[in-house]
Amino acid sequence: MPRISNMKLRVILHLVVAACVAMPVARARLLYMDEIVVTCSKGTGPGELYYFLDMEGHPAPGYPRCFVIDAEARFYIPEVATYTGIRLHKFKPNGKFKVMWGLLASPGVRGGYRWDKEAEVHVPLFGTPLAVHALAVVSEGECYLALTRAGDPRTLVNKYSAEGRFLYHLGPKGVLTPQELTKESIQRATLFADIVRLAVTASGHLVVAESNTDGDMVYTFDSEGKLLEKRDALPPELAEQAHAHNAAYDKLAAAFQAEEKEPPPKSHTVLAPDGQLYYMVMVNLKYGAKLEIHRLTFSQQ
């Protein structure tokens, strides 16, 4: 049997003691695991995003403001590009690009931009989609987009079928007629003021959370666009989800602050159906830019 000298024994003991002291410190730092799940570069091709931050760091008008994760962990990122309209990028659960949909904003409205010679800027024509503010995906593949249009301060919701076909526009009272979307109707409250959230309940109903000057309002619609309910609080099922999301976001904010990092805005975070928190971040690079979706896995501590 090999003999261990006193010197070697001391060295080993010191190492064991050092490891025991160091481990809790290491564990205390390992509050979460942050992994990049989806990466999109800047561009116009499939899986590439058109708009990012401008040179001063301000987001461009149509930049991606939201993303969702469906029950099968697929990612959806909507954006509005100047010349290509509404685009919905779909990614597989492993973060690989799947397909991009180019969606019709409004049938019969061609949209586009005109060049203003005096101001030397492109001015969008009335009805041209400007930004997608919220998105919800139904398990069957149908989706709802909340968008704003040029020349109209209000927000409306569009429904698309599982194959990407435009189905209808939705306002606070239900399905909108073309007359309710005209320039003349802007003064009337036929559309939503400012949509903060879209969600679909287990029964397939759409819930629209609106923020306006009178306070928050929550509308529930059936799959045909009929208004079922209007109240000032989320339905219990979604209230629970919102509570869980808040708790997860608080954890993220605390972890980021501990590392003196700025947490992402809450609107850029999503609590997936599997209970994991995802957040979206845009990075300006020396040449180009990229968007990343990160998954946070918190440790038990």
Partner: protein, 323 residues
């Protein structure tokens, strides 16, 4: 009268002076003559379209959903050059604009969605849609004169890419894989002249320009089932049945007399699901002038359905065909 006006130099001076003072009649004559000439038949063979046709879908030019980007450029290597109809009558028009994009329209010609697909960014030469909704696209192979068949799911997800030996993978598909781009590489198809899905759902790829001609049959999962030097009898019979109509239509569309209406593309060897032939043409602002069309404004594309007259002998080569 000034005698100097009858002098040679004087007369010239008068003529120049009159033209300079009264140019409008001459200009008007020129304009009238131009329009009169431009409305004359281009050739002696110029004749109305001998078949009944109707516009099924009209796709304007542009870069938004429901528009085709490369319409302004006439015969361009990346212009939309083919389209397909599935068995339900849905229309698929691919083009290459920052990757492959497919405009999907319903049987009434109404736009549904644009599918921007992963994979090659090369010109789509042919497209066929299976009954399951899966799409097969023939594109140029990277860095090669050959071609590959790309299979996409109905949703638009790239499933695999096929060469004559089966599914391609790895460096065979890498854009950065360096080799002679003009050479023929045996892992790719040389020139696909027809691609279709047979009654069993198998993909049939026909290399008609190759000597000897070769026909490949693939399982929907990409497995090569067999090769032959002739088309399978089921397809050959069908082809023969429609040959008269197809040849008559094709001959007319590519004849000089038809060129004034626009570039005719996408004539499939087989009729659509409803038994009618379809073709794609340019919608031009003004008269199509063959090779002189550069500068003509292209408004977009039109998919047109050709209806052959009932009964035999009522159209050029248009006998009745019973499916």
């Amino acid at each position: 009268m000034n005698a100097s006006l009858f002098a040679k130099g004087g007369r010239k001076t008068v003529t120049r002076g009159a033209l300079a003072r009264h140019p409008m009649p001459l200009l008007a004559c020129c304009v009238v003559t131009f329009f009169a000439l431009s409305n004359l038949p281009a050739t002696a063979e110029d004749a109305p379209f001998p078949f009944q046709e109707e516009v099924v879908a009209s796709i304007p030019k542009g870069s938004r959903p429901g528009q085709l980007f490369y319409a302004p450029v006439l015969p361009s290597p990346i212009r939309p050059g083919c389209f397909a109809l599935d068995d339900k009558g849905y229309i698929y028009v691919p083009e290459v604009h920052d990757g492959i994009r497919i405009e999907k329209l319903d049987p009434k010609g109404e736009f549904i969605v644009t599918l921007a697909l992963e994979g090659p960014r090369n010109w789509v030469r042919r497209i066929v849609v299976a009954a399951t909704g899966a799409m097969y696209l023939v594109t140029h192979a990277p860095n090669s004169g050959g071609e590959v068949v790309n299979k996409y799911s109905a949703e638009g997800e790239l499933l695999f890419q096929l060469g004559p030996k089966g599914i391609l993978k790895g460096e065979e598909l890498s854009q950065g894989y360096f080799r002679n781009p003009n050479a023929y590489h045996e892992e790719y198809f040389r020139s696909v002249t027809e691609i279709l899905v047979n009654a069993q759902g198998h993909l049939v790829v026909w290399e008609g320009n190759k000597t000897p001609q070769k026909c490949y049959t693939f399982h929907p999962k990409g497995l090569l089932l067999g090769t032959s030097e002739a088309l399978p009898s089921e397809i050959a019979d069908r082809l023969e049945k429609h040959r008269a109509r197809h040849d008559a239509l094709n001959k007319w569309l590519w004849s000089p007399s038809s060129m004034r209406e626009g570039d005719k593309m996408g004539i499939s060897d087989f009729p659509g699901p409803d038994g009618h032939y379809y073709y794609m043409g340019y919608k031009l602002a003004g008269r199509y002038m063959g090779h002189k069309n550069q500068g003509k404004e292209v408004l977009g594309f039109e998919i047109r359905r050709v209806i052959f007259p009932e009964g035999s002998g009522s159209g050029p080569g248009a006998g009745p065909v019973e499916e």
